[in-house]
Symmetry: C2
Subunit: 547 residues, 2 copies
């Protein structure tokens, strides 16, 4: 979806989200400051540079990544300026530095920087720069750490969330419950935001709800149940009927339903905790319209009793949450129970009560549950989602590719670590069926690939790997997002980026997205870029040793 | 070290660190709010509760954990109050809730809460509550998520850092370089803070340096080298001699030294990049007192040339950083080179130049380097430290153990998950050699164990596991940190907590701390608590099924 489309649809607002804390330019590595000083001392204040921000490997043994964090990067650029107290701190910390440098630093801003970037929420691949940062060497270098910090975790969590979505399918609700295990308070906030962006439906994190307008969800904890001993202790017992307003002793109704239903569960009612019934009943009194109960192994009877009492009062309960035990078995057992109750009392909604599961779930658990068969409508996912347990860091890097218009290549014994020199543009080529075929990196200034015209796509490092591609659609991936101190593309709302993730992933063939042995998506270079890289490589090859 | 000791030593200042952002009470799970409302509806506003905050398993396959995050918890309590905009948001989000509840919520604070806690920075063990939170049920419940968020990651990173310190030994400098890979901007800040607390010596994170007075360190990146092509481009070339003030062409001096040293390295000087020499020389011009160069495989000659030129100008360089390749080999090679130069030119300081290593290092790398032998003086550690790759979450939980003075037990099919009911105190018992022997949980009100008097220490769940312990020293682990709306213990400075981590770990026997198959530290219950737990367990045992 193009920005113009979004603008036309009236979905885009500029600079609409500023509630979040401003990222300070001191959130960086000290060596950025020391390098800035050394550059300044070396009279390189007029030097210009081009940096690429990219990663080398998709996370989670997968073959795709979701790019996220761009808006935060742009907000950071808008506010990029060292405060007086920053300068004071730096003066104290680096006492040998010429004080004049700090006057220079105090006046710096990102006005001279131009940022080209792929749309936030796009599916992206290794080696394709997500952002190209151009401008004064010193400023562009000073941005490195913060841009990496803002992109790395955001993209990692968004990708993780998108993978959970693929595993769970589109009809299951996914909720992020990870705040308590997140890496720091803001780790939790970022997790909630980018999990939503990646395809989750909501979060338990209230502050994230407030700051980012993400739907928030939650019921009650086990402690709520433990805090009730029996129904007799309940002081507030009456509920008004939804339609008639008639007030009745709701607790008695729950108890009666429990007696009636107990044989149905092949249980004596003594076998099911009275404290739990009190907890469920009191929770239903508070939320008659949205009753969800945390059901341990033995809580189904109490839940059904309260649900039937709610029904008598004109309300329809929502469902249950299971937080322990065998989720496949328990969800199936619960559904079967609901169906029996539905049939016996002729209450169709009972059949489709929501079953939420939330016990230390990861992507593998969901695949395994799918295989076993389950009746879960909603997963609440915490630790594994927010900490990205399987791979807790994405390795985005920020590499110098040109200085004063001279392309630079970084060589490495590890071919994968050789950088692609110079300013580059990226096109995504699509086949006739609408699926993305390949990402093609070209030198900036090369003619763009054309629809219906074959283009040679080469592996950047293996000479023999190349293919002619005849695209049915050509999409330039970069837009200029930042220039002359201003954001120059409209920034979509979070919910729009979330939709874009969905659409962007749809363009990817299924075999790139599957869980087991996914096919790598190809990233190629144009013939001209290929020769350019290899000529420069040769020129820079070490003398006197075999690399 | 007791607080009184710290007070006496004048090291403690109250409420001295408030620069950090205030944690808002909405940084919580929604179910805390919905439970609060259900409690309020059930007329449980006068109910009181006791919650234990603890973890069940040490992280990283280790047998100890460092408790961190307490100060942030206390600051959170000081500021615990829902703002008008919080209330507005909650009203919108939970529209079915009785508006009167929000008046109640608006007025809530933590004045009724009492917090007992173990000193921040202490070595702690599974099942021992790190904090005991007592007070109004609703408030104590509302604190859960935020307290967990503040303790979980802080303790995880502090423990990780302490483990790196044990691996590296006390003579190696440890620097945290993880900001760019951290989980969100604040994830990076928390990482820097708690890595320092756990035993690191500094960070690259400038904002963490500013906020927490942590030493910051850093040199330059590879991009700095790439941005220079040759020495001829350098416009600023002169340096003043440190003592005499005499100005000389420093670049020429570097080039001359390179020519002189080249045979020594069995290299033609053309084999070593002139751009790199320009980069090192310009960096030395900026930091003659603190020259550290990023030395790739072939950069030693250029480094030594610049180092000798600096020496001629009266300065002593610091050393090199190695960021790629075989660290054992390269550090040994570098040291050998330094020693040869030192001998040849009779410059002793050249022998002991600092060698920093920073290439994707984790705890295992350090153990392996120790085994191989290396010459590294300083490790810069990023991703693995800050994301705690080996285990990215600590599983602290917050469990209700008493309500209205009635102890509560949470049963589970998994014995490890059975909670220890009621208010408890904890004592650490020490042997005659000063080492900690065991942590003993007792019921609050039980007489404390006495020095020289044997006390029965029991495994909480295995009847046959018990032992008489005759302590040479008895240390009560809890202090009352919060009461009547005030912090009631002096809060040590970060650097003092860091020292306390060191001292606390020293009391632990070596076999508990070793990397391979460490011995678990014993956590026991008193005979009285043992019987109390098991009587209550029996009382609450399920009817009609074998657990």
């Amino acid at each position: 979806m193009s920005t113009q489309d979004r603008l036309d649809r009236g979905e885009v607002k500029l600079n609409s989200r500023r509630q979040n804390g401003v990222i300070q330019p001191l959130l960086t590595d000290l060596y950025q400051i020391t390098m800035a000083y050394a550059y300044w001392r070396a009279d390189k204040t007029k030097d210009t540079a081009v940096f690429d921000l990219f990663f080398r490997k998709n996370p989670f043994h997968g073959e795709f990544t979701i790019f996220a964090g761009l808006e935060e990067c742009l907000k950071f650029l808008e506010n990029f300026n060292y405060s007086d107290s920053d300068i004071e701190y730096l003066k104290d910390t680096l006492p040998t530095i010429d004080p004049e440098f700090f006057d220079f630093l105090r006046k710096l801003n990102a006005d001279g920087i131009t940022v080209w970037a792929i749309d936030e929420g796009s599916v992206v691949f290794p080696r394709v720069p997500l952002m190209r940062i151009e401008g004064p060497l010193i400023v562009a270098q000073l941005l490195e750490t913060t841009l990496l910090t803002l992109v790395n975790y955001a993209s990692l969590v968004a990708t993780n969330a998108a993978r959970y979505r693929l595993a769970a399918g589109k009809n299951v609700t996914l909720l992020e419950f990870g705040l308590r295990r997140a890496q720091g308070p803001d780790g939790g906030l970022s997790a909630s935001k980018y999990a939503y962006l990646g395809g989750f439906d909501g979060t338990s994190n209230v502050l994230a709800g407030k700051l980012y307008q993400i739907p928030v969800r939650g019921t009650h904890a086990h402690a709520y149940i433990s805090s009730f001993s029996d129904c007799e202790e309940l002081k507030c017992r009456t509920m008004k009927h939804k339609e008639t307003g008639e007030e009745q002793d709701f607790i008695e109704m729950c108890k009666n339903w429990k007696t009636e239903l107990a044989p149905f569960f092949a249980l004596m009612k003594e076998e099911s905790s009275d404290g739990e019934l009190a907890a469920f009943a009191s929770y239903a009194l508070a939320f008659p319209e949205a009753f969800v109960a945390l059901v341990d192994t033995s809580g189904l009877l109490n839940f059904c009793a309260v649900a039937m009492a709610l029904n008598d009062m004109g309300f329809i309960p929502k469902g249950i949450r299971i937080d322990s035990g065998d989720l496949a078995y328990l969800s199936t057992l619960s559904r079967a129970t609901f169906e029996r109750v539905a049939t016996k009392y002729n209450l169709d909604w009972f059949r489709t009560l929501m079953i939420v599961a939330s016990n230390d779930i990861n992507e593998e658990t969901i695949w395994s549950l799918n295989e076993q068969g389950h009746q879960i409508d909603c997963f609440g996912i915490g630790t594994h989602l927010v900490t990205c347990q399987r791979q807790p860091a994405l390795g985005c890097v920020y590499k110098l590719v040109a200085i004063n218009s001279t392309p630079k290549i970084k060589l490495s014994e590890d071919v994968e670590k050789v950088t692609m020199p110079g300013r580059k543009d990226v096109f995504r080529l699509y086949g006739g069926d609408g699926h993305a075929l390949i990402d093609l990196l070209v030198q900036t200034g090369e003619p763009a690939p054309e629809i219906g015209s074959r283009v040679l796509c080469r592996h950047p490092f293996h000479e023999s790997k190349r293919a002619w591609v005849n695209p049915a659609k050509v999409e330039p991936l970069y837009k200029m997002y930042w220039k002359d101190g201003k954001i120059c593309e409209p920034l979509p709302q979070l919910v729009e980026i979330r939709q874009w993730v969905h659409e962007s992933l749809k363009t990817l063939r299924q075999d790139h997205k599957r869980n087991l042995n996914p096919t790598p998506f190809k990233v190629a270079v144009s013939d001209r870029l290929y020769h350019f890289i290899h000529d420069l490589w040769l020129e820079n090859a070490p003398i006197g040793e075999l690399s």
